[in-house]
């Protein structure tokens, strides 16, 4: 291998290692320094040292331990160099040095990784900052990789992460798991970040790439990590189940030329059955905790109905209507109501469904979105009100943000 190849091999090895060990390295540094931003900086510096040294020195036998040791040394140096240290900081520096000498206090713990998850998804951060920081510190992804997944320029992502770290410092966010009275809401925020990451990959909201499978795979991986960290939380398993069911349809969602195939027209034999099996297992784990179904579990149960149905006609729509009704009670919203209308149209016909949709439209719900006119158009078409249906499809196409969706809707308008 020449030196360029050696450098590339070291970079790829480090990248792989970081996906596995990055969260634990940052987490232990954050516990010791009490500062996630500083911990991430130190970890990055250690990674830079690795890239500089490994091509010549060879990759160490235990690279994760090497990285942690280098980062620890940098932490101690940073504290020592800082002339503004007050007595409290000096005490921390002494403790760090002592622990370094003893080799204690540096074992990464699952609890540290959990603290890291809650910190990266802290409510003082914007949603996009939470997503970027979670991928960075929990998922262990390099900044260029995050940029690739979101189709963003690298400096934009870099800036997002830098700002997120500064915000955490400015808000003095402690490196802690939330207090019991905040636990539910904070865990909800973490799940929302992971699911947003997944849905961004599942149906790109802009651009013409229908599915960003890689991003969805990262969200699923982080979801599974989370399920390992808080195995007693039913909604975490439920979110994993929901993502498994939705991802199982990836192979059937697009034609060879990239155009999307809607649920009704998908070749269900192309759904990934092994993945559906994992989804069912995750939903069963959630149910087995015996605390009832939350909003992710209800969504997962709906996805499971589709996953098990041999065709649209043979789907248990009555059960899906019940699940949407339950979902509408604990997580009311116009999108849930619209989906309930679709299920009602399959269970009881387009007439009762149109009443639900018209009620939504009258209330001004989902204005500016293609979703409502899209569903309304389908219902009108089934009722034989062709002219109205054509106008609604055209209205929906004009509002669609995704190139591919627009094509599908325009084709439907033209096909009537």
């Amino acid at each position: 291998m020449d030196s360029v190849e050696q450098a590339e091999a070291a970079r790829r090895r480090l990248e792989a290692l970081w996906r596995i060990e990055g969260a634990r390295i940052v987490a232990v540094l954050a516990r010791v320094t009490g500062d996630v931003g500083l911990a991430e900086d130190l970890a990055q510096e250690a990674a830079a040292d690795a890239l500089a040294q490994w091509p010549a020195s060879g990759i160490p036998a235990n690279p994760a331990a090497w990285l942690t040791t280098v980062a620890r040394r940098k932490a101690i140096d940073a504290w020592r160099r800082d002339a503004r240290l007050d007595e409290r900081h000096r005490a921390i520096a002494r403790r760090l040095e002592q622990e370094a000498a003893d080799g204690t206090g540096w074992e990464p713990l699952d609890d540290d990784v959990l603290r890291l998850v809650f910190t990266a998804c802290h409510p003082v951060l914007s949603r996009e900052a939470q997503v970027a920081l979670t991928l960075r510190v929990v998922g262990g992804l390099a900044t260029p990789e995050i940029a690739r997944l979101f189709l963003l320029p690298v400096p934009t992502v870099q800036q997002r992460i830098v700002r997120a770290k500064k915000t955490l410092a400015a808000a003095r966010v402690p490196f802690e798991v939330p207090a019991p009275e905040e636990w539910g809401a904070r865990l909800g925020a973490v799940l929302a970040v992971v699911y947003l990451m997944f849905t961004e990959g599942y149906a790109a909201t802009s651009g013409d790439r229908w599915i960003r499978t890689d991003l969805a795979a990262e969200a699923l991986r982080i979801g599974r990590i989370l399920a390992g960290l808080v195995p007693r939380e039913p909604e975490v398993h439920a979110l994993v189940a929901l993502m498994e069911f939705q991802a199982s349809r990836f192979p059937a969602r697009t034609r060879a030329d990239g155009t999307p195939i809607l649920l009704a027209d998908q070749d269900r034999t192309r759904w990934d059955r092994a993945q559906i099996g994992r989804g069912r297992a995750a939903l069963a784990r959630s149910d087995a905790l015996g605390r009832g179904r939350g909003s992710y579990a209800l969504q997962a149960a709906i996805a499971e109905c589709h996953a098990l149905a041999p065709s649209v006609a043979a789907t248990d729509w009555a059960q899906i209507v019940l699940l949407y009704e339950a979902l509408g009670r604990i997580a009311p919203g116009p999108v849930v109501e619209l989906n309930r209308a679709v299920a009602v149209s399959m269970a009881s016909g387009p007439g009762p469904a149109l009443e639900i949709v018209d009620r939504l439209a009258a209330g001004g719900a989902l204005r500016g979105s293609h979703l409502l006119p899209g569903v309304r158009a389908e219902l009108l078409a089934r009722l034989g009100r062709t002219n109205e249906a054509r106008a609604e499809f055209a209205a929906a196409a004009a509002l669609a943000g995704n190139e591919r969706e627009r094509e599908v809707l325009a084709a439907k308008a033209a096909g009537l």
Binding site: A16, P251, T269, A274, R278
Partner: protein
């Protein structure tokens, strides 16, 4: 991308492992599996029963019709004893996980990428490529019903 780790052990490695308390092997393998699960990369994994069990057999296709025999299992005497399927982002990540498997001298992990639909993109219209998805579906359905 998905990889399969195929565990292969020589007779010597199997003999050597018999000197280790089975509890110890269970613990180290259990810890390895747990690390794969907690990292969110493990999709599946199974161990295979000892070849000496008469529940196992070989179907040899060197004649037509093929012959069902009770062995031998291979020229190399390197037996498949189990497998994992993991989902990773790169060959390097697969290598990192495979290297952490608690196996001893004489054992090997054969690490093979699992093919995806994209590998057969040139044949996407092929009736049998599409049917294969259906066969896999039925098999997994049966597994789900039984498990």
């Amino acid at each position: 991308m998905k990889y399969m780790f195929i565990m292969r052990a020589t007779d010597e490695a199997i003999e050597a492992s018999k000197q280790i308390p089975f509890e110890e092997i269970l613990n180290s393998m259990g810890a390895y599996n747990e690390s794969l699960i907690k990292a969110g990369v493990m999709l599946a994994g199974e161990g295979l029963a000892d070849v000496s069990e008469d529940t196992n057999f070989v179907v040899d296709f060197s004649q037509d019709p093929p012959i069902v025999t009770d062995g031998p299992y291979g020229e190399t005497h390197e037996l498949f004893n189990g497998f994992w399927i993991v989902q990773v982002a790169s060959k390097e990540e697969a290598a990192e996980w495979a290297s952490r498997c608690p196996l001893g001298p004489g054992s090997k992990l054969e690490v093979r990428r699992v093919t995806e639909a994209a590998d057969f993109a040139d044949f996407a219209g092929n009736e049998y490529i599409q049917k294969e998805e259906g066969w896999r579906a039925q098999e997994a359905d049966l597994r789900a019903q039984n498990g």
